[in-house]
Symmetry: C2
Subunit: 329 residues, 2 copies
């Protein structure tokens, strides 16, 4: 056998001394195969390291290729989305589907239609959304979009948990670096922040909320400026890890120690941050798996609905108990 060629179902059948039909039945978990035979086939599959060729499955209608469409705006928050890509590819792969990178036209619509799509960063009345719906192409969205299959992290709970964490540490002057106002997730994190303050009976101070755009640099500049203008606070909740990185840098540059003087909490738990940042972890793998599940339901013509994925506070070294400030320099 040509060792360069990867084994086919025929190779498996021949070695296991059964027919290709039986191998296929075993692999697809169909009933009506003798346990002993099943074991023998699986053993050969393992030994030959056989994996079905996706193209052939697709031909018989058993592999769906799924495309992914990114809104132009999301290019700014790419580290997060790239992570998602990989999880999505993995989740699809497990289901016998494949993620296909399709070239898009200027409007952002694919030139060659896949069986279904995952959309990220779509906005209300997105032309791509309407076009897909008009063509009857199933799709699932990452985010919150009433009337469509969609999955999103529970950002309200995340914002609440991050803020409550700081409140429980004794902090009362908590700054919030927001995402862009048109970004749903950012708005929800802000709402969680407000809700936590309210739960602790604290007033909502507008000067403690700094508009950001999820970028590290903007977070740095806004925070540093506000500090140099004399505003004081003991904690910062940033709506993304990248903004938290900006905040950390700004605090460092104005000579404030973290976490001794100011605590910082981020959001996303990006692995490349790598630091000791207290943050809110999104279960991206779970979001991806859910997206795939929704996609399958969309393909089977079910009624659209939305899913929320819980988030989790991860406490690391950037947050600590509130320390009253020394008076004066």
């Amino acid at each position: 056998m040509d060792s360069r060629r990867s084994p086919t179902i025929n190779d498996v059948a021949r070695v296991a001394q059964v027919s290709t039909g039986t191998v296929s039945r075993v692999l697809n978990g169909r009933s009506g195969v003798h346990p002993q035979t099943r074991e023998r086939v699986l053993e050969v599959v393992r030994r030959l390291a056989y994996t079905p060729m996706q193209a052939a499955r697709e031909l018989t209608g058993h592999t769906e290729t799924v495309g992914i469409l990114l809104a132009p705006e999301v290019r700014r928050y790419i580290p997060y989305y790239l992570l998602f890509f990989e999880r999505l590819a993995e989740a699809l792969w497990r289901e016998g589907m494949r993620l296909e990178e399709t070239p898009t036209d200027p409007v952002g619509l694919p030139l060659k239609a896949a069986r279904a799509y995952v959309l990220m960063g779509a906005h209300d009345h997105d032309p791509r959304l309407e076009s897909l719906a008009a063509q009857g192409i199933p799709f699932a969205l990452i985010g919150v979009y009433p009337g469509s299959f969609c999955v999103a992290p529970d950002d309200l709970a995340g914002g609440y948990a991050a803020t409550r964490h700081l409140l429980e540490l004794g902090h009362r002057e908590i700054l919030h670096l927001t995402g862009q106002p048109q970004h749903q997730a950012g708005r929800e994190r802000l709402a969680g922040y407000q809700k936590a303050l309210a739960a602790y009976g604290l007033p909502y101070r507008e000067d403690f909320v700094l508009d950001g755009d999820f970028s590290t640099l903007t977070a740095y500049r806004r925070l540093r400026r506000i500090w140099e203008q004399g505003l004081r606070f003991s904690a910062v909740f940033a709506a993304s890890d990248e903004m938290a990185v900006g905040a950390l840098a700004a605090l460092e540059d104005v000579g404030v120690g973290v976490p001794l003087e100011v605590s910082v909490v981020g959001y996303d738990d990006l692995p490349e941050i790598g630091s000791a940042l207290t943050t809110v972890r999104q279960d991206i793998a779970e979001i991806a798996r859910t997206a795939v599940r929704l996609l399958k339901e969309a393909m089977s013509g079910a009624q659209p609905y939305g899913v929320r994925i819980p988030v989790q506070l991860v406490v690391r070294g950037s947050s600590s108990l509130y320390q009253p400030r020394a008076l004066g320099p």
Copy 2:
């Protein structure tokens, strides 16, 4: 005909009243088809908006699926690479190949082998590189790697062009924000900067070269600090657009006008920067097309070689003629 089902080659053949073989010959540009027949087939293809199903082509060995492997480090420079993704998918598509998003193991190797791979951000003695070579899987690299098929922009020329542009405008005190030292492209851009200075008979001043890491924030902090320490210059050449954005912000925050007081030149010509930044454009589409061409040669077992893609200076509003500084405040 079920209108939901996309047309197959059989539909085309039936409508055009020829055999599937003839349709296939027409579509693949094979000779031996009567011009009249060819016209008739093409007409039907257009009318039915027929596109061949990739899975079926793949089955007959005519579509190669190509994977892409990203080094963990490149996640930091994602905007650029995402652009590349799309161009690569497009270039492959035109050649009847497809870019497949494959899940990778912890080492970064694909769990399911594609026919060939494009690697980005590989370093010398990259285990993935050696693993692919050992398995005889064809691959092409983006960057410079002697002994492999590789394609890279001509960064030396780019660094030279950017610096010469500033020199021609009369600038003599030109700061350079470098990329990371371990990044080949950054080193070349620096070399181009040095070469241009030498060509104009200027000494190389180490204090004018600021180590960066391609990140916006680092560029901002380094530039602002150096300015506040009293170093003066009339121009900045940043080794990436993102660093240029950081430079622009820093200059703004220290109250320096661009381009009147200081000129800024970036590198990459990222579309989302969108501003009036003078920069060096990399022809990413051409790099992607070349990668595909190299991939095909790699698959046919040719001898490895490297290709350089020319870059182009794009003059916009962030650079202008040198203006002598007013003395004192």
